[in-house]
Amino acid sequence: MSTNEMTGAEIFVKSLIEENVEYIFGYPGGAVIGVYDAMHDMSHIKHILTRHEQGAVHAAEGYAKATGKVGVVVVTSGPGATNTVTGIADAHMDSVPLVVFTGQVSTNLIGNDAFQEADIIGITRSITKHNFLVKDVKQLAWTIKAAFHIASTGRPGPVVVDMPKDVMASKAAFLYPKEVKLRGYHPFYFGHMGQINKAVEIINASRKPVLYVGGGVINSNASAELYNLAKKLNAPVAMTLMGLGAYPGDDKLSMGMLGMHGTWYSNIAVDQCDCLIAIGSRFDDRVTGNPAMFSPNSKKIHIDIDPSAISKNVKVDVPIVGDVRHVLERLTPLVNTLDTKEWLEQIEDWKAEHPLRYENGSEIRAQFVIEKIYEMTNGNAVITTDVGQNQMWAAQFYKFLNPRSNITSGGLGTMGFSFPAAMGAAFGVKDRPVFSINGDGGIQMNIQEMATAVSNKLPLKIVILNNGYLGMVRQWQDLFYKKRYSHVTLGNNPDFVKLAEAFGGAGFITDKTEEVVPTLKEAMKINDRPVIIDFRTIKEDNVFPMIPGGGTVAQIIDYPKSVKELQMAKVHSEAVK
């Protein structure tokens, strides 16, 4: 036996140090008790004990999205592992780099329905980029290296590493590989020059271009390259929910978000453009509505690192498979400055005619709260949002100025995401304020993490847009189900101020518009613990504009100006449902 032999648990810790891991979000249990023993003396890495494994995964996602680094999770077998499933699926849909280490029963017990056994490899097969069961301690270091490599390269995603208890207790020599070779995995970065040239030809002939930008721009750190392209082309930019922040939201060329609840003008512009340049976006149904009618008059160029994203939903004229940043670096010098003066004037007119709007009054409007947060943070905060109306209003009214500032569950639409994700973001980003925007429904899905946030003195601003409803579902019942509100009333919401205080945090509440700014000011003074701010908003407000699911821009409902107009909108949406 060589002297350099160590246990699997020790190899695990050493490997994470080699990967420069700063934080592990985790929760112990029987199958990982040996691993936790090895983690007891860790000095390079901080372990954050969440209060639920789902919280740990969302925290790791928040950390990964805010920093661009890989998020790391450790949980025990069985229930610990199954509690991570929602978070893993979420990361898979939104291309978030994670490595999730799950404990497993000893190899001799696998398949015996042993205590706390779950086939997490089988369960997560379709929601991971890849997963591994480590059967031999000699394979452990290689597997960890491969897991980080797969999670962080190409189109990023979650990787699960399942670690049986006996493997982690047995010994092997530790040698961390410098690189791993995987026969079947060769992400393609550079983009085919022939395709790039074809795209240039189409772009140079365009008079009405639109850049349709998604989360891939943020993942590939290509905001600067996107900015250069937009400015050179004088092309307006429409962003997906995941793409917000890729281009500065306050710039003249920004049209904000497109899609179901996107701005009126971004959707109309996409409909009428002659050249649509999709960059790191995937023609998701929330963007395209009816794909057959999506942007019908344009030549389409699609830049994406994932070949399977190309022509999946909408046929494009020129696909370019490659990393967005690499492709833009080579494409931008080849395109001409376009004469888009008329097109931009047209868009300015549309912006003036159909702005995002809401009617302010003495009762609080969620839109107003978001606008004020935007102003008070100079567009510089990291904002995590939950799912529902709160998410859409945040997307519409916070003009994200920087990438990695908008952290939300886009693909899976996971309620309960915002708050734990904000914790993870706050560990990763120390120099900017972190706001978590929530509905009164979603915040209750991972509220237990208040204990984690308080223990770690995280200065989070947890905003609840409290409308007493599962608002987004209520909106659909209002518009499409004759206002038959079926099980969407949140009758017994807790006293969120007391709840915050019970956990050791701070709490504020108001139901008056005039108190929104003073309350936010007070809350922003507290920087040694999390603050919950309970804004009692108008109860039955709807998110507009709206294109009903599967619809087209012809069916877009702009903000209804009167009761009569709203009535017409309902009839209209009834017809296209």
Partner: protein
């Protein structure tokens, strides 16, 4: 919708086949037949899948298969010149009166009789799917008791033309 023969090389590892089959079921692609075995390289298995689908769907299937980390190569043989075979075992009811006719049919299809009993015979046949189908049709009137088919295996031809 056209039938496509997709040849896949995959790491010969625990769970790798599951990933392929799981991909088909999770995305709602159909599998007409699947056959698995080792390839020329022990560490790599060759999976041959026959799937029906529009060209768009097949294109997606191939892209999704390529995305699997354990998959090292995917080829749609359909537009190539390729050889394909399937092996089938057919147990047919037989008695004194029908036995000789069954043996004739077997001979015509260049297949073998590999088991015989007073009430049945078992025929082993190889060939293209059409040949196997035709044979089954011929045997059907006699009373087929059991069938086991391997599913299609296929390889690309090196030279044009048939052997």
């Amino acid at each position: 919708m056209k039938k496509h023969t997709i040849s896949i090389l995959v790491e010969n590892k625990f769970g790798a086949l599951n990933r392929i089959v799981g991909l088909f079921s999770a995305r709602g692609y159909n599998i007409d037949s699947i056959s698995v075995g080792t390839s020329e390289d022990d560490s790599v298995a060759r999976v041959t899948i026959v799937s029906k689908g529009d060209d768009d769907v097949i294109e997606q299937i191939i892209k999704q298969l390529n995305k699997l980390i354990d998959v090292t190569k995917v080829v749609d043989l359909t537009y190539d010149n390729y050889v394909e075979r399937e092996l089938v075992l057919i147990k047919v009811a037989a008695n004194r009166n029908s036995r000789s006719e069954l043996m004739q049919i077997s001979e015509i299809f260049r297949s073998k009789i590999i088991d015989i009993s007073p009430r049945s015979i078992t025929i082993e046949a190889t060939g293209s799917e059409q040949k196997v189908d035709a044979m089954i049709k011929m045997l059907d009137p006699f009373g087929i008791k059991e069938i086991a088919r391997t599913g299609r295996v296929a390889l690309k031809r090196e030279f044009e033309g048939t052997v």
